[in-house]
């Protein structure tokens, strides 16, 4: 989390501020949001391996995705330094997230006639926007030490039209330094388990899924504050 010398809000005050951030997430498009204690966030070394075995098309595509980014060990340090978080999700209809050939469409990056690529991209963009918005609001409220986690690969969402991630090309200037954050999964956070722990129904959606097989999909984000 970013360093700061200001005195953070007292615990009770912080709880109230987090609650207002939770409401804000809902107001601006989250399907559900919960204030959570940082110690329920599961960091699991297996999660990052799911990006690499087999190699996901996003793996190695941006500075956040495995094999780069935060190791599980690093994320554990970040999580243990945090106190509370706002965990939220954006619901995605199964007709979009489990659409036939959606995997191929995403991998190719070519828009499909059904508009699923653009629609899914919009859902991802909402996650990044909400994370950014909540962190900004938290800073205004005096919570300066925050870390955001979104979903997917920031290169695909924020730099879709650019050929490469600048960070991976050796530049220290990210094109979207304020918006770009690691995804939960790229940092080794077990988003599925966390969602289940807060009582949300999360379905495993793989490449061979059909829209009728799952009730819905969801994309998740987290803003951790300490």
């Amino acid at each position: 989390m970013g360093k700061d010398t200001e005195i953070p809000p007292a615990p009770r005050e912080m709880e109230a501020e987090m609650e207002s951030l939770r409401s804000m997430a809902i107001t601006h498009g989250a399907s559900n949001a919960q204030v959570i204690d940082a110690d329920i966030i599961p960091v699991d070394p297996r999660v990052r391996f799911k990006c690499m075995i087999p190699k996901c098309y996003m793996s190695g595509r941006c500075g956040h995705c495995p094999p780069y980014g935060y190791s599980a060990e690093k994320t554990r340090e970040i999580v243990s330094a945090g106190k509370m978080g706002v965990f939220f999700h954006v619901r995605v209809n199964s007709s979009i997230i489990a659409a036939k050939n959606i995997g191929d469409v995403i991998t190719s990056g070519r828009a499909d006639d059904a508009g699923n690529l653009l629609s899914l991209g919009g859902h991802y963009m909402l996650i990044y926007t909400l994370v950014h918005m909540l962190r900004k609001k938290a800073a205004e409220k005096g919570i300066k030490r925050t870390q955001g986690f979104a979903a997917g690969c920031c290169k695909d969402v924020l730099c879709f039209l650019s050929k490469n991630c600048r960070i991976l090309n050796g530049s220290d200037q990210c094109r979207n330094p304020e918006m770009s954050v690691p995804s939960l999964e790229s940092a080794g956070i077990d988003a599925f388990r966390l969602a289940s722990r807060v009582g949300w129904s999360v379905y495993p959606i793989g490449g061979r899924c059909e829209p009728h097989s799952v009730k819905r999909g969801m994309l998740m984000g987290l803003v951790l504050a300490g």
Partner: protein, 239 residues
Amino acid sequence: MDFYEALKNGIFTQYTLSGFNRQGLGNMKPETFPVPEEIVPVSAETDPLVLENNVGRLAENAREMGAAKAAVISPEDIVFDESLPETMRADDALPSIHWPPEYPLDNLKDALMSFRRGIFLYIRAEPGMPDYGGGPIDDPVHRDCYRKLHEIVTAIESRSFYMGHYLAMGFAAGNCRSIFCADADRCIAMTRSKPCKEPYKSRPSMAAAGMDALQMFRNAGWPPDVLKGPLLAGMVMVA
């Protein structure tokens, strides 16, 4: 009956390394391995009884698909040998994303030890088949043997995923490039931003990932005559 009582009463002995004896689920072929009609949400914590039941079914599925033996294992049954990836690295005629795999920030051993149960299996090699190491594999029949092993491993991994064990992780044998991309100039997945061409089929070999499948085979007490040829063993850690 709770989990520990069931364990004490020997209900799970049918799933141990010493053997399996459950009724089959039909002639399930890898190509027809179904995605469940309705997928259920994942659980916050996996029920040990459900997990034992699931891994038993998965081992059975592996045998139905052609595994000569399939045993339920615990992470403690995995034998690690850190010298193996180095050996594979020297066998570099056909470098690929999985030969050997590189995980600079992540510890695979830690990840594997986080599982509770997995399946260890092998298929019989063709008589007279040599150990191809990193390839190339000139004989298409021999290539099909490796392909078959990968098919079983990926099918079991996929099945585990849809059972709610979404972190399932599979390993097979041989260099995926010499099996699936034999005619390609290079492994496309080694290029930044490019995915694997066969993500639903190819997995790292156990040896290249630092696991001593041979010793695990011996520890399982499986027939030693199999070791006259190359060992085509795979593993899927389920949950």
